[in-house]
């Protein structure tokens, strides 16, 4: 129990004086006890309290108490967890359910670079349809892309020794 602290607590003398005045007004506190219950009450109180203890410690009371304190909160917690787990969907995935939505949210140039053949972007496409081959391109696709956008030399700089010759063969040119 938290009590307010005082900077200058009252002195013992002040307290004694106040108690003396109060006793003069109200009489001695011990006089009250005489107006309390008589002996039979005390004997009966023990009997009634023992009965109450019996009720509180009966198997039925204990099982109700155990259920209220442990079982019910435990079951509620587990069920809540399972329900939450079942219905949980990460917010980002939920907001972009289709490839079309993702593509529409991106700049046009980015879409071209990711999806070599934009004509394949169809509203019926799902992530599963596209994901396996988004970054896997055939030689024809590479050739089409480079011939459309130029910059063949820049592409060749990043290729291995064998790849430039394959690419040049694919493009049908000996010099570029």
């Amino acid at each position: 129990m938290k009590m307010k602290e005082e900077k200058n607590p009252p002195t013992d003398e002040a307290e004694r004086a106040l108690v003396g005045e109060l006793k003069a007004l109200a009489g001695e506190p011990s006089a009250q006890a005489g107006r309390g219950p008589q002996d039979p009450y005390w004997a009966n109180l023990i009997v009634r309290t023992n009965q109450r203890i019996d009720r509180a410690t009966s198997p039925r009371a204990l099982s109700i108490s155990w259920a209220a304190r442990v079982a019910i909160p435990g079951v509620v917690a587990i069920v809540s967890f399972l329900v939450a787990l079942h219905y949980y969907v990460p917010g980002d995935l939920e907001s972009h359910t289709s490839v079309t939505d993702v593509l529409r949210a991106m700049p046009v140039a980015s879409v071209d670079s990711l999806l070599v053949d934009p004509s394949r972007a169809d509203p019926s496409l799902s992530v599963a349809d596209v994901a396996p081959d988004v970054f896997v391109f055939s030689n024809d696709q590479i050739a089409d892309y480079l011939s459309t956008h130029g910059s063949i030399r820049a592409a060749i700089d990043g290729l291995s020794d064998r790849e430039p010759s394959d690419l040049i063969t694919a493009l049908g040119s000996d010099d570029n």
């Binding site: 129990m1 307010k4 009250q32």
Partner: protein, 192 residues
């Protein structure tokens, strides 16, 4: 002649399954527990219920009693907390009964005859104590009636002696002021 067993010995016997030892503890402290409860809650019926509940609670929680304080201090703490809870519960019920909505639902819940009877049987001092805030009431009961030291009260309420002294002093002043007003008004029934 056999030496009376100490509280701790009795507690140990209860833990060992001898229920009779708890009855002995009840016999030892029931009157003190009753009067603490009675002075805080202000009525016999509620005090009777609080005493029984305090002993039941103590019996069930005896396994948690570590013996850091005396058994009586521990029991006293349970009693004070239950008494204050009873007062709070009654205040909520009184508030609900006073509200217009509930008075429509329960039109015959007030019994003026009971109030008059209650006022006649309780002393002006009890009425003054009943008006104290709950913390001051608890401190006043323990210090004024039970003449406990501040250290003992501090162990029951788990608070500092300085705060207790201030609380007791404020309580004394309020009770004294109420008693003076009562004396001046003579036999006129007080407004509650």
């Amino acid at each position: 002649m056999m030496e009376p067993q100490s509280d701790l010995e009795l507690v140990q016997e209860v833990r060992n399954g001898r229920r009779q030892a708890f009855t002995e503890l009840m016999r030892r402290y029931q009157q003190r527990v009753y009067w603490v409860a009675r002075r805080i809650v202000g009525s016999h019926d509620e005090a009777d219920d609080v005493v029984q509940e305090a002993f039941v609670k103590a019996y069930l929680a005896l396994g948690d009693f570590r013996g850091d304080s005396s058994f009586f201090t521990w029991l006293y703490r349970i009693t004070v907390n239950l008494s204050l809870n009873a007062v709070r519960k009654r205040q909520v019920m009184n508030y609900l009964h006073e509200s217009e909505l509930l008075s429509r639902i329960l039109p015959s819940s007030d019994d003026p005859g009971r109030d008059v009877e209650q006022q006649e049987t309780e002393s002006a001092l009890e009425r003054a104590v009943a008006r104290l805030p709950e913390k001051q009431k608890a401190v006043f009961v323990m210090r004024y009636y039970d003449e406990m030291t501040y250290e003992e009260i501090g162990r029951v309420l788990k608070t500092s002696v300085g705060g207790l002294k201030a609380n007791y002093f404020h309580a004394l002043r309020k009770v004294q002021e109420y008693m003076r007003n009562e004396n001046e008004r003579g036999k006129e029934p007080p407004h509650r």
